[in-house]
């Protein structure tokens, strides 16, 4: 059985706990064992914290990586932001001995040490590569028949040369993962356009961020999709929280929630009451 240290992040446990719950249930059904990564913090947020101070960002990320290393487990993330942040920090520290030494000087202050061995994974990548679409199909005891707009976000696949999961400009993996439930992934324009919330843009220039979201929503609406399915609680928050103001009403599901529905979880268990755009199944 595949075993991972479960990295919660911030937005899932503290804004959409249904995403956390669905992930736990779905992973169990798919034979993935999640072990609590006790005492972890924010990844920290790549858009703001890394932009403030790369050194601080790296040191705080190293603490999270060291916690998992001590458990001897790779990290599983359920958010593109956490994935991007921890993956990039691990990529740097695991390949740059000089920077690793610098960071270890800081970790020594709290009696910790990072050897540079932790691997960081995105849950959708694990679902696709480790579990596989056929096994997921078999686990979907309640097959669905919705038209879906898949939303990859940015930091799941990009930068493509280091992530190497799928073609970032013309990805297929999430579409296949969604169609494993019986749903149909519908084609649309500008499928890989950013949701707008990353890089601190949402916080500093919320109206600009919303312009990104609006274009996405127009393209999604035109595709005829009934649901938006994302793999990132931050994209999820952006789509869910702006639609009222932008005049749209397309419910948003995290992939783990879509799987939860297809595996027979109840609406209560999926935590849909946290969603601002009502989700009617």
């Amino acid at each position: 059985m595949a075993k991972y240290a479960f990295f919660l992040g911030c937005i899932a446990p503290l804004r959409y706990p249904g995403v956390e719950k669905s992930t736990r249930v779905v992973c169990e059904r798919l034979g993935i064992e999640l072990v609590e990564l006790d005492d972890a913090s924010c990844c920290p947020a790549p858009g703001v914290i890394r932009a403030f101070s790369r050194t601080t960002w790296l040191a705080a990320a190293a603490r999270n990586l060291a916690l998992a290393e001590k458990m001897g487990l790779p990290i599983l993330t359920i958010c593109n932001g956490c994935y991007g942040s921890l993956f990039e920090a691990a990529h740097e520290l695991n390949h740059n001995p000089e920077m690793l030494a610098k960071v270890n000087e800081v970790l020594a202050k709290i009696g910790m040490h990072y050897n540079g061995t932790t691997k960081v994974h995105h849950f959708a990548e694990v679902f696709y590569n480790e579990v596989g679409v056929e096994k997921i199909k078999a686990a979907c005891t309640n097959p669905l028949n919705y038209g879906i707009a898949t939303f990859y976000g940015c930091h799941f696949l990009k930068p493509g040369d280091v992530k190497d999961i799928d073609d970032p400009e013309d990805p297929k993996i999430l579409d296949e993962l969604v169609e494993a439930t019986g749903c149909k992934s519908l084609p649309r324009k500008q499928k890989t356009l950013c949701c707008g919330s990353g890089g601190g843009l949402k916080a500093a220039f919320g109206d600009v961020a919303k312009e990104f979201t609006k274009t996405n929503l127009e393209n999604i609406q035109a595709s005829g999709a009934q649901f938006i399915v994302d793999v990132c609680p931050f994209c999820h928050l952006q789509f869910d929280s702006t639609q009222d103001a932008l005049g749209f009403n397309i419910p948003v599901l995290h992939l783990s929630q879509l799987y939860g529905i297809a595996m027979g979880m109840s609406e209560e268990e999926l935590g849909l009451s946290a969603h601002k755009v009502p989700v009617k199944l």
Binding site: E20, C42, A45, A51, A60, C194, G199, A209, E268
Partner: protein
């Protein structure tokens, strides 16, 4: 125009991970691909050129530096393989060190500093977590004061307290 040469800026940019800005030959693929540039006055090609010309003050005092959503589309398409987002992050680090900080960003940084997370927990979320059969407070630094104190030591060691205070 006066040609500027600021070796200190170039050294700093390199240390912060932006050395490859010099590889840019100004084709403009980045700006043509940039979703922010389509919606604002932000021009990533111009920003990289300004970095090549050591125009530190003009860069760090300009709001446009904060209009990148770090979507990496430019990085995917750059024919010179310039890690453009890394360059922007390096320039933002310099801007913050010189006191150019957006209030909303400071708030996120403060959240990390005071709670270990970028957003706060509240009673609604606690109740919702409980109803879902999850621990009311997630098993992160929020559940362990010692772990939070450890994180704070790390943030202080890197001088983060000076940024958020």
């Amino acid at each position: 125009m006066e040609v500027r040469y600021d070796p200190e800026f170039e050294k700093q940019l390199a240390e912060l991970g932006g050395a490859d800005a010099k590889l840019c030959f100004q084709c403009g693929t980045c700006t043509a691909s940039c979703p922010s540039g389509r919606r604002t006055s932000y021009r990533v090609r111009k920003l990289v050129r300004m970095a090549q010309l050591d125009m530190k003050e003009e860069i760090i005092s300009n709001d446009e530096l904060w209009m990148c959503s770090t979507c990496y589309t430019c990085v995917e398409r750059c024919p010179r393989r310039v890690p453009i987002v890394d360059v922007i992050i390096a320039l933002r680090n310099m801007a913050v060190a010189d006191g150019h900080i957006k209030a909303a960003h400071k708030k996120t940084a403060e959240n990390l500093y005071t709670m270990g997370h970028s957003v706060p927990i509240n009673d609604d979320i606690k109740n919702m977590r409980k109803a879902l059969g999850l621990p009311e407070v997630p098993p992160t630094v929020l559940s362990n004061q010692k772990a939070y104190e450890d994180l704070k030591v790390i943030l202080d060691a890197a001088g983060f307290n000076e940024i958020v205070e």
